[in-house]
């Protein structure tokens, strides 16, 4: 039975194994490869997308649970927080290899949407699930603070 869900505002009907993680639905069924595979066990955050605005790990979210869901991916995320995050990321040249950055940006955008002026502790709490093997963390932190400023101004 196909599963109907909305991704970045577009409705899709997906006919695949109901146990398929959303990550592989995005990457393989829909050819949306901005969402990355890093661990497959909800330990790295590379696959972070938004489900009704909340950050989730798409590698541990299964197709069968998504009927009627509204998903936003890195390809579609927009709005004030996302724009501020992208601008700050560019201004500080945050990415190195960049492979984790889709997930970082999705997590940071969700954080700033909820908490427009996050403290360092807020950042640690919201971003600790997002691994960056290039260790761009210092710039991620600075860019989140910068994005918060941009949202104010």
């Amino acid at each position: 039975m196909p599963v109907n869900l909305t991704i970045n505002g577009v409705s899709h009907s997906i006919d695949a194994d109901p146990d398929t993680p959303l990550l592989w639905v995005l990457r393989d069924e829909l050819n949306m490869t901005g969402t990355k595979f890093g661990c497959g066990i909800a330990q790295c955050g590379a696959c972070t997308v938004h489900l009704d605005g909340m950050p989730i790990r798409s590698c541990q979210t299964f197709l069968s649970d998504l009927d009627g869901a509204s998903i936003t991916t890195i390809e579609g995320v927009d709005g004030k927080a996302a724009e501020a995050v992208r601008a700050a990321w560019q201004e500080l040249d945050v990415p190195q290899c960049g492979y984790c950055q889709s997930g970082q940006i999705m997590a940071a955008t969700a954080l700033l949407s909820e908490t427009p002026k996050p403290s360092d502790d807020d950042i640690d709490a919201a971003m600790d699930g997002n691994v960056c093997r290039c260790a761009t963390y210092a710039r991620i932190r600075a860019a989140i603070h910068l994005a918060a400023e941009k949202m104010e101004g």
Partner: protein, 730 residues
Amino acid sequence: MLHHLMKPIANAAPSRRSFLKLSAGAAGGLLIGLRLPGASGAAMAAEGELAQPFVHIRADNTVTVIVKHLDKGQGAATGLATLVADELDATHEQVRVEFAPADAERYKNLFFGVQGTGGSTAIANSFQQYRTAGATAKAMLVAAAAKAWGVPAAEIAVSKGELSHASGRKASFGEMAGLAAAESLPESPRLKTPEEWVFIGKSFPRLDTKMKTVGAPGVYGIDHKAENMLVAVVAHPPKFGAKPKTVDAAAAREVPGVVDVLTLPAGVAVLADKTWPAIRARELLEITWDETEAETRGSEEMLAELQAMAARPGLKAHVHGDAEAGLAGAATVIEAEYSFPFLAHAPMEPLDVTILFDGGTAEFWTGSQLQTVDQNVAAAVLGITPDKVAINTLWAGGSFGRRAQPDSHPIDEAAHIAKAWAGAGNTPRPIKVVWTREDDIKGGYYRPMVAHKVRAGIDAEGNITGWQHRVASKSILIGSPFEAFLVKDGVDETTAEGITDMTYAAGAIDVEVHNAQTAVPVLWWRSVGHTHTAYVVETMIDRLAKAAGKDPVAFREGLLKDDPRKLGVLRLAAEKAGWNDPLPEGRHRGVAVHKSFNTYVAEVAEISFRDDGTVKVEKVTCAVDCGVPVNPDNIRAQMEGGIGYGLGAILRNEITMTDGEVDQSNFDAYLPLRISDMPQIEVHVVPSTEAPTGAGEPGTPPIGPAVANAIAAAKGEWITALPLSKQGLA
């Protein structure tokens, strides 16, 4: 890594003669010799374009720099573009990058003689070459404009992507590109003096940032898609060196989407139309393994063997003076044993290779780090010649050494899959081989496990009188194609690098190595031997300082009189960290300084302890001298990343084995550094006119010993077995 390949490997290059010529500095002749318009995809010239091996100016006024190195996050693409853009006087906005095809003749690393990236050499080996390429293109644009406008070339100014003359005539690069293509190549285009640089040493933001903030869809190897493509995952043996004996694939073949199951020399591949069915089906394979040649020991037994080796005399790696006599005459002798675990690189993007093999030619899409070796390995498996192997180098999601394998094993595996697929009479299809994180963590090619035994003595004034040092480890290079060049009398020069070239004044030094044998494959890991040698040397220096009753910085200063650059970064880091200022309650400092890949880095770590006794690294002050700082912000980024990478390893990382099987499989057990672990980092880049050296690796070695020295400042004890989590400190 790989800097070790500099001269000797020229012998293995496809064209030894051209390597020698190029490395002799004949950069002016380089483009002439290599100018083969239209011969390769990277330099396909259309009407109205100027296409050269390293620079392609199109009529739309874009300047595309052809990047011969893999960019796995270290910024090589932007770095090479900076060099071209500066000489060309292009604007940042008009510059694009494109990876070069596999073609060692044109795109070899001038230090290796083969095409490849590593050893923090991307900028160092390209500095003259890419600036010359930019200057050449500019000279041709100027010559074309001079002709078109009927004015002397010397009167034409070039600035910010525009050619202009006092008469008021102006042209963009794009407008002049077609005419420039008809100009002859300048003999030796004039390179700018450092005072004329507009981007080098100043600012040239990364060209890949923007795409990486929108998901960079399709740019990494793992994102590669092709029509009719299959995805393969491979069941690797649970013990290193084992081979498949019997395979029952009945259940796996039942999974919808599975297309075939192929038995390989060292694994079993499941091929499916998509990734998920392949991953699922692999779990259903029933395989028995032939473990005749497998490593069946646990890591504790392996470590015990290394420690026993380090207790005995070994192969001489470096001898200066009579260390034994120096130690005998010492007032104080410090003796210590150290151990370091296997480490996985765990790049964020796991390994992947896409291959299309049609029986006569093969094409690959992957983050290739040693293109020439990859071509040779693929050709050998497929029974074709290396020139029939094309490689499309894609952006890579990290490497840290993992993608540069002397045996090109992922390429080898993909080639075996494609060969078996073709051998079964199938029509050719692109096959993407994907490694999961479990494959990565369990898959070997680790930083070797290492044991050190060291004795060092000082006299009553605190002078080092003798230093005796043994390192036991599996060699990275013995058994690899590089053995003939980089292993002398059984000594792999990476095993004890950082000790053999130590510049602390020591009356006498004696360094020995032991080569352990194991089927566990080992590999260079961001800064190679320096990952452990810097730790031992720099903590030993602190121990000697304490024994001499001296401050760690002052003690080092006294021993570094003949190494002004090392002394320079040490003093700069100490000054910026406020080394002599009192620390707040509960804070402790440690320092370390180390040269690797001809770059000097000093780091001061400031730590505290959490309530549970674990270490929190609060702040790291870093000073780096890598010669001309081509792209200072990227150098800062590489120091930040290198510090974080090294810190993650010393805090909690170790690969252990029980009866030959790896105990960790993913980030739930191989715990990566997270944002809450990240210290505040301050990087100071030393202004310099020395030839530029690397930045990718040298930030990593000093952080471990700097933190260990800070812990010792607090507790009086130096940690000699890593990671710190084993000691309850992380």
